[in-house]
């Protein structure tokens, strides 16, 4: 895990949009380059607070690796005033960035294990840096299973990269959608249903899961049914993060703060509170 930068964590650094890539009708991927100085290092799974000046801040995970060209890459979906303003930024526009914050995927800790990576919808974005790092060091892992769920085929994220991963013979990728028209040749159904079909050794598998919380709940159930122990399942949690350094309490989740103790959390540490509706 990379620590909080030494500068005042409440003061955003100015970054400029270097490139905008439209992923879906409501989703873009932004490359953000620092206006001055170097971008801090970070680990897959961490997030930044992105500040649309005059509108507000939102937490957004990195969707590409720290090795990528000195920029932050964020995939942003327009779901509200702030994310919408950020998703509409043009090349050259300024944006405030605080971070990197939070815990990371156990990419190095999982070396030697089978990896089961389960992404739902936009949850593929925070997992992509981990997937890229794992694939770049493929020989250090056992089987790699990537299971992806989406609302429908046209909402699939990173289609070109998915195709590249699919071409590899050393990775098992399965995609499922909630519904599709008759032209779709892939799976239709919910992503937890892919787990019993996946070939991995549950006793030596580590699972990385990111997506809507309902999807993660049932994915955890399917992983547990398959024999994966709770201490080998990692989830990326989401709550209303504000300060991002564990001070304000907005993202409190039982005895933890998602911004500081998460977003990536080991399931056995939150199992007792994971399904508590009031949290």
């Amino acid at each position: 895990m990379v620590g909080i930068p030494l500068s005042d964590p409440f003061v955003p650094e100015i970054y400029r949009v270097r490139n905008v890539r439209r992923e879906l009708s409501d989703t873009v991927t932004l490359e953000l380059a620092p206006a001055s100085g170097a971008r801090p290092p970070f680990e897959p799974g961490q997030f930044n607070m992105l500040y649309a000046f005059g509108i507000g801040e939102v937490p957004i995970s990195m969707s590409a690796n720290a090795t990528d060209d000195g920029v932050y890459v964020h995939t942003v979906r327009d779901v509200g005033a702030v994310s919408g303003a950020i998703a509409r930024l043009k090349t050259g526009a300024a944006v405030g960035v605080r971070g990197p914050f939070g815990t990371s995927w156990p990419v190095r800790g999982a070396q030697g294990s089978d990896l089961v990576i389960v992404a739902g919808g936009l949850g593929l974005a925070p997992l992509r840096p981990a997937i890229r790092e794992v694939l770049a060091n493929r020989q250090r892992y056992g089987r790699i299973i990537i299971l992806i769920g989406s609302r429908n085929p046209k909402d699939l994220l990173f289609k070109e990269e998915l195709e590249e991963w699919r071409q590899r013979l050393d990775v098992d990728i399965d995609v499922t959608v909630d519904h599709a028209d008759a032209d779709w040749r892939g799976n239709v159904g919910v992503v937890p249903a892919l787990i019993p079909r996946a070939a991995f050794d549950p006793e030596k598998a580590v699972a990385l899961v990111c997506g809507p919380e309902v999807m993660m709940r049932f994915t955890v159930g399917a992983l547990r049914d398959a024999g994966v122990t709770a201490d080998r399942i990692y989830l990326s949690m989401e709550r209303n993060m504000k300060c991002a350094i564990g001070l304000c309490g907005h993202c409190q989740f039982g005895p933890t703060f998602i911004c500081k103790d998460g977003p990536v959390m080991r399931y056995d540490r939150i199992a007792d509170i994971f399904s508590v509706r009031e949290l």
Binding site: R77, G120, G121, D181, A182, V188
Partner: protein
Amino acid sequence: MAGLEHVVSEHPFFAGLDHQYSDLVAGCARNHRFDAEQYLFHEGDPANEFFLIRHGRVALEITAPGRAPIIFATLGEGEVVGASWVVPPYRWMFDVRALEVTRAIGINAECLRGKCDADHHLGYEMMKRFLPIFVKRLHATRLQLLDVYGQH
């Protein structure tokens, strides 16, 4: 028949089923091969046979006038296609189309219903296998209805 008995008893859907019962089921079984795009059955047809998929994949579809068919589930190797044979009036409620060459064991429903009526232990074994499928698919449908990947 010996071959079919083996195939039925080895299919994951019948895992753990006593041999005397898997032999009874196999007595109602026959082999099928479906080409890609071939329909296994259509909505409204009599549900007189259900299928244990051995290889391949099928799509469960619903059609509405003026709209393209919507696939709401796909099933593959080791799974079972069709549960309407259990519930009167024994008619299929959707279309099923092979997405690729699919090999399956078809179980004659009238034959198996008769054997279940005659031997309630066999009927109970069938219910123990089909009820979880009903529950699992109902649950999956709930999740799909939640539209968890949509904007919230």
